[in-house]
Subunit: 235 residues, 2 copies
């Protein structure tokens, strides 16, 4: 399991590149395979479609059981909402599995926005393909109550356009409508777009599955165009 | 602000190395400067002691205001409990500041343990140098109630040996004593040590400031020696 980070070549660690170089088979979405095209000579390439996670995991494990060295590549960190868990579940201890971490979307988005994650934060995915909505609501409530900075992964898709609206309503019950909100699209991919807004206005901007949304806590401020949650030092 | 990741050379992204190469001055703890010694030729080196964060930020900003290109290096991701916020606060918009993210301790620890962060998680620092204990308790309670996987940064130091005990008591009010707990020391630094235990037994192991502790949620299991929070796929 190899994490490629936010999706530009400059963010891939040498450890991740090394794991890919060692592999005989590389499995992943076509977009990510393209990113490492120059390393693919002589390797078997298994490009898999979106949403085919279980099939991909089974294929990768079957190849490894058959004796191949397999690298399953993904963007971000495969250990955060990634394929690592599914691979371990499917492998069931039959083959050795190693996870090579990458820079996750929370880090990439935070870097684009300034420094919103200087204090405790919660990471929540708004995709309910796998998590029931009631559990998601419970977590949104808990994170809002606990005054966590909140990082939303998978904030919106065609199948669930209303989750982000309902999440915002929950936050507004616990936080000021002026709470800073950062919206980052394609962090560090060369096409990075970032928007600094607030809970009041956040829905006026495009939020899709390529964006990461960061909701400030009660201390988060915007200073000189940067979103900062002070760590608490007395200046 | 440049993140070096978990602390071995193999985890430093090309983007981070590039930022260091471009800098005229490199500021950081001696340990981290040693890691990039081969890049330091011809550069001014400002080694700073632990706990001197504010002084370090002021020095770095003063050098940048004086026209130097300055890289402030740190382990992990400077955007997660790092120096990025302090630098932005001290700089006050006077100089351009860029954050180059790195692999944070949560990712490195998760990779060592298996796949505990496949579902929503909260990141909490147990250092109360900067966060009042009452706020920390409120967050520990909220994260436990919300059934988040919980990643504890700075879990223990000489000044506050009891925080981890009190955190455990809070978790035990919401979760089974058999809840898996992972303790990782020096993740990916070549001397990595990992322990898989549970809420009942976690305090029998050494936990210090070099460790990251991951507390499972209600779904987290240990399978074949790996800590896994299932993402929810039906196998």
């Amino acid at each position: 399991m190899v994490g490629l980070g936010p999706g530009n070549r400059e963010s891939i660690t040498p450890e991740a590149l090394g794991a890919i170089k060692e592999a005989q088979v590389v499995v992943g979405y076509p977009t990510y395979l393209d990113l490492i095209e120059d390393l693919m000579a002589g390797k078997e390439r298994v490009a898999t479609p979106m949403r085919g996670e279980l099939e991909r995991a089974r294929q990768a494990v079957a190849l490894a059981v058959a004796g191949k060295k397999v690298a399953v590549v993904s963007s971000g960190d495969p250990g955060i909402y990634g394929m690592a868990g599914l691979i371990l579940e499917v492998a069931g201890g039959e083959i050795p599995v190693q996870v090579v971490p990458g820079v996750t979307a929370a880090s990439a988005a935070a870097a684009a926005l300034g420094a919103p994650l200087m204090n405790d934060f919660a990471v929540i995915s708004l995709s309910d393909l796998l998590t029931p909505w009631e559990i998601m609501i419970r977590r949104l409530e808990a994170a809002a109550q606990g005054d966590f900075v909140i990082v939303l992964y998978n904030p919106r898709s065609h199948g669930r356009p209303d989750h982000i609206k309902r999440a915002r309503e929950i936050f507004l019950r616990h936080r000021s409508s002026q709470t800073p909100v950062g919206i980052v699209r394609c962090a560090r991919r060369g096409l990075e777009e970032k928007i600094l807004t607030d809970l009041e206005n956040m829905l006026h901007y495009e939020i899709d599955m390529l964006t990461t949304v960061v909701i400030g806590n009660s201390q988060t401020r915007v200073m000189g165009g940067e979103m900062v949650t002070p760590r608490g030092y007395r200046l």
